[in-house]
């Protein structure tokens, strides 16, 4: 969905909340349980001009993660600013 929107030149911002932040954790080896590695998909986002990856600071901290431990550079947002951020978009899609 992200890539489809981006392919049609819609500006896309991704916001990672709660356990969603684990998707960006470094050193995942999903082959160990027979699953596909998703890191290359996130790394491909730049090719589609999806450059705004937002991560909620509190979600990271609650899980013992830090921005430095993620596979890509991200922009941090505080929980109390999420409502305004979401409210500022034209369309919101959850996944």
């Amino acid at each position: 969905m992200i890539l489809t929107a981006a392919a049609f030149e819609q500006p896309v911002r991704l916001l990672f909340l709660d356990d969603g932040v684990f998707q960006l954790k470094r050193n995942q080896k999903p082959a160990a349980i027979g699953l596909k590695h998703i890191a290359p998909i996130f790394e491909a986002l730049e090719l589609y001009d999806v450059e705004e990856l937002w991560v909620e600071e509190e979600s990271l901290r609650e899980r013992g993660l830090a921005a430095e431990g993620l596979i890509l550079p991200v922009r941090l947002i505080r929980r109390h600013n999420v409502a305004e951020f979401v409210g500022g978009q034209d369309i919101v899609v959850s996944c």
């Binding site: 909340l17 709660d18 929980r79 999420v82 409502a83 305004e84 979401v86 409210g87 500022g88 978009q89 369309i91 919101v92 959850s94 996944c95």
Partner: protein
């Protein structure tokens, strides 16, 4: 723009409601549907977050989903507003953005 937050899972099977309430803005509203309506029960344990949210946000519960689960109006937390499908459509028109918490 104000956001209509959609929560369709029970607070005991999912963190969706808690995650939503932690971030909803002051001008937003929350619509409980399907098993999400269980959060609106007065008898519900651990209902402090939704009680607190009721003081600031509009919280709606979908009437057909309440009825299907045998939940009567008297069993709802004070302030929860019951709406039918038409009311749901009106809400969706009033709130230009909707955000499903999964």
């Amino acid at each position: 723009m104000p956001v209509l937050h959609l929560v369709s899972r029970s607070p005991r099977e999912s963190q969706a409601l808690a995650c939503c309430l932690a971030r909803a803005g002051a001008s937003d509203a929350v619509l409980l549907s399907e098993n999400g309506v269980y959060a609106a029960l007065t008898t519900s344990e651990g209902d402090a977050p939704i009680r607190a949210a009721l003081r600031q946000l509009g919280i709606y519960a979908l009437k057909p989903d309440l009825e299907a689960r045998g939940i009567a109006s008297e069993e709802l937390l004070e302030g929860v507003r019951e709406i039918d499908y038409e009311g749901f459509v009106d809400l969706a028109v009033h709130y230009p953005l909707s955000h499903s918490w999964v």
